[in-house]
């Protein structure tokens, strides 16, 4: 066994990695809880990969087959309902965890140099997660999926100048048809995972290189200690993953994700049709003002949010540091407020 390992080591030198893992330290302080959020997001993504592959074995895209195969997964395939339920719940929990992760990074000012590249890759991952959610939602081809996607594509069509083109490319024409399912499926199961994994790898590499950001106040007061990443923090991380898995299992088993009747494109949209919860704030804004204005406003706010490392580059306590904190609070209140408003008006 020993010689086998040393032979492997000659060809694949892992010793430096092991060395780095043993020396890596993780800071622990009163805000350290938020460090788990990235790990939880990663965990839900891993669940998505595993359950997604399992669903691939049975799902058939296409206008004639999509709903029938989803129905077969729900009723005929052993534990198919559970796998699909876990996939759908995990998708939503993943979006939620990424949101919390992003806001905690924002408030800790962990986007500042040298972690600005980590911030940008993280935002790219968030954007792709939205695309995952959007493309995956249509695949079962039930009535809610169909009409919610229609609403979603209409939102995209509202983008100034290029909106119509984007909508046509997404749909594969001027209407949502079997071709749209095929397109969304290709994006959801092939294109997006490939790009996502590449960016995720870079994101994780950057996290490993720069380590966890210690909030400035905590660092100044020296109110933290460090623990070894291996095994102490790893145990703690596994602990939280296990809890996350249990929460996911409860939701998936007690509230199995429903499958509605097959989409009928000739039927009128059911009342109160709306996109998934993470698009609700945008949906509400669109209802409150003309489409181009809403899209411009949302786009501008998003762009400002994304480039925060540029306008708040240095310290957490300076004038701009405070401004960033207020912007973060305003963004959180805005998103939550608009979402509540949107659900209240359904």
């Amino acid at each position: 066994m020993g010689t086998l390992l040393s032979k492997l080591e000659e060809r694949l030198p892992l010793a430096p990695l092991k060395e780095a893992a043993l020396h890596k330290q993780v800071p622990i302080h009163k805000h350290a809880f938020w460090y788990y959020m990235g790990g939880i997001s990663l965990f839900f993504f891993l669940v998505q990969m595993v359950t997604g592959v399992l669903l691939l074995f049975h799902y058939q895209p296409g206008a004639e087959t999509a709903h029938a195969s989803a129905l077969r997964i729900m009723t005929k395939v052993d534990f198919g309902w559970l796998i699909r339920s876990i996939h759908s719940w995990s998708a939503n929990l993943m979006v939620g965890a990424i949101f919390v992760h992003m806001f905690s990074v924002f408030f800790m000012k962990a986007y500042q140099k040298p972690r600005d590249l980590t911030w940008y890759t993280g935002l790219a991952l968030l954007g792709m997660t939205f695309l995952f959610g959007f493309t995956g939602y249509l695949l079962p081809w039930d009535d809610i999926a169909f009409f919610a996607t229609k609403v979603g594509v209409d939102v995209a069509a509202g983008t100034p100048v290029i909106g119509k083109e984007i909508a046509n490319i997404l749909r594969g024409g001027t209407d949502i048809t079997g071709l749209t399912i095929q397109r969304f499926f290709a994006l959801h199961a092939v294109v997006l995972p490939g790009i996502f994994i590449a960016i995720l790898s870079l994101h994780l590499l950057l996290v490993q290189i720069h380590g966890n950001k210690i909030p400035e106040g905590v660092e100044r007061a020296n109110a933290y200690r460090t623990i070894p990443f291996f095994p102490n923090f790893l145990y703690a991380d596994l602990y939280v993953w296990l809890l996350a898995f249990n929460v996911l299992s409860i939701l998936a088993a007690i509230y199995p994700w429903p499958l509605g009747p097959e989409a009928d494109i000739l039927k009128p949209a059911p009342q109160g049709i709306h996109p998934e919860w993470y698009f609700m704030a945008q949906f509400q804004l669109l209802k409150m003002m003309p489409e181009p204005v809403a899209m411009t406003l949302f786009g501008a706010a998003g762009a400002l949010w994304a480039i925060v490392p540029l306008w708040n580059p240095a310290t957490a306590t300076g004038r701009r540091g405070k401004l960033a904190t207020y912007a973060g609070i305003a963004a959180a209140i805005g998103l939550i407020g608009l979402t509540i408003l949107a659900y209240g008006k359904l």
Binding site: S85, I227, N232, S249, I250, A253
Partner: protein, 444 residues
């Protein structure tokens, strides 16, 4: 059906019992586990001269005194209060059958509380030997109260030879008595361990006592994980066949996947049980220094979930009976079904005479022990899309004896044809009130 009814909408009257009972079960098993945890740990500490452990136990005893004598006692009485309102017939049968057992239980509980009081106040005033002895008395009486109550609890699922002989001991030492007792004893040890872990996290992070206590308390879960699997297999072997069928075949399969809610909850219980083992291993046992109180709370919540879900499952597999083979969950005696099935309902239910709406009286006396109109096990959902005619057709099925597909989960429905029509009219009105407020289509 000779008592007034108690209407609890939304959660249903069953959950009133359920919520009180789950809390009580959690506390009482804690108390049984702690009954051993305290004197065993005291014995160890005295043997090894660990004064820090003795100090900790002294402090710890106060909590258990409050838990057992206040929270345990009030929730215990609360269960009585609730079941006598929700299930008066079944409660009366339990009292008639087990009055001797409750007599014993009161004596044992009195000694348990008294010995705990002496144990707490005796830390500084008694000789170590006497104090240790009192501790053993507390342990023995706490366990004895489980020994007694377990007989009554298991009786309701498997009354055993009592059904024929009406013998007290036949009902008490029924087929599920022993596996249930051993399982509950293991659960009690585990909960004591979880509580020790939680208390340990309150201590100073680097203290020797904290690390010792977390590791020591973790070990209290080992017996459960070594033997509980075998005991569970034993238990399932003696559970009645229809109950096992409900577990494997499923109750409500349509639309929510292939497995019944009971089976899905059973899966979650398995998952949580494994989770607790892994959490304890990777948390307080292998990594005691970094094990925080928040994580200990998560562990306790997991323990609470397993306890609650297991008790809930035990209740569900008893359906459609309150006492299997003797009395249905709505208070109808099995032996009365034949002669009462198609007779006018009013002849069998004295309190129904006070209610001018016979349909409402039927609902309250025959459906409401398990269902609500719009809340838990909602009839509005179960009967969605049906009009009075269609509901009536369904109710007729509930009178069809061996041809009734619901016979293993719901009691047969008593009443003459006019009663069934009245119930159908009432339900259709309640679940979808007509806009004009007019009567439903089928008239009694």
């Amino acid at each position: 059906m000779n008592y007034p009814t108690w209407t609890i909408d939304v959660i249903g009257s069953g959950w009133v019992i359920g919520l009180i009972a789950i809390i009580h079960v959690f506390i009482s098993h804690f108390a049984v586990g702690a009954g051993l945890f305290l004197p065993v740990t005291e014995y160890f500490a005295r043997k090894h001269g660990r004064t820090d452990v003795l100090d900790f136990l002294h402090h710890h005893t106060r909590f258990f005194l409050v838990l057992t004598a206040v929270a345990g006692a009030t929730t215990g009485v609360g269960i009585w209060f609730a079941i006598s309102l929700v299930q008066p017939e079944a409660t009366a049968t339990l009292i008639r059958t087990f009055v001797f057992a409750w007599g014993m239980e009161w004596v044992v509980f009195l000694v348990e509380v008294a010995s705990l009081v002496f144990y707490y106040y005796g830390w500084e005033k008694m000789s170590p030997e006497l104090h240790q002895k009192i501790g053993w008395v507390y342990a023995a009486t706490a366990f004895l109260s489980l020994v007694i109550i377990n007989g009554i609890l298991t009786f309701m699922l498997t009354p055993g030879t009592w059904l024929v002989t009406r013998s007290f001991w036949g009902g008490f030492f029924n087929p599920t008595y022993w596996p249930s007792l051993i399982m509950r004893a293991f659960v009690a040890l585990s909960l004591a361990g979880l509580w020790g872990i939680y208390q340990g996290t309150k201590l100073d992070r680097d203290s020797f006592l904290r690390i010792w206590l977390l590791r020591y308390s973790s070990r209290w879960l080992i017996p459960s994980y070594m033997f509980a699997g075998f005991i569970l297999i034993w238990y399932l072997q003696v559970v009645p066949d229809p109950s096992m069928a409900a577990m494997t075949r499923g109750i409500a399969t349509a639309g929510v996947g292939n497995l019944s809610i009971l089976t899905r909850v059973a899966m979650l219980i398995g998952l949580f049980t494994v989770t607790i083992a892994l959490l304890v291993l990777f948390g307080p046992y292998l990594n005691p220094k970094d094990f925080t109180r928040a994580k200990a709370v998560a562990l306790l919540i997991a323990g609470f979930f397993v306890t609650g879900a297991t008790e809930w499952s035990r209740e569900v597999i008893r359906k459609p009976f309150a006492i299997r083979g003797f009395m249905y969950s709505n208070g109808l005696y099995l032996q009365d079904v034949g002669k009462k099935l198609n007779t006018p309902f009013i002849e069998n239910a004295r309190w129904a005479r006070l209610n001018p709406d016979i349909g409402e009286a039927m609902f309250k006396m025959q459906c409401m022990s398990c269902h609500t109109l719009h809340g838990y096990r909602s009839l509005a959902i179960s009967l969605a899309g049906r009009d009075a005619e269609s509901i009536y057709n369904f109710l007729v099925v509930l009178q069809k004896g061996s041809e009734n597909p619901y016979r293993d989960i719901m009691p047969p429905l008593l009443g003459a044809d006019a009663d069934l029509k009245a119930l159908a009219a009432y339900l259709s009105k309640e679940i979808a009130p007509p806009p004009s407020g007019g009567a439903a289509s089928v008239k009694p």
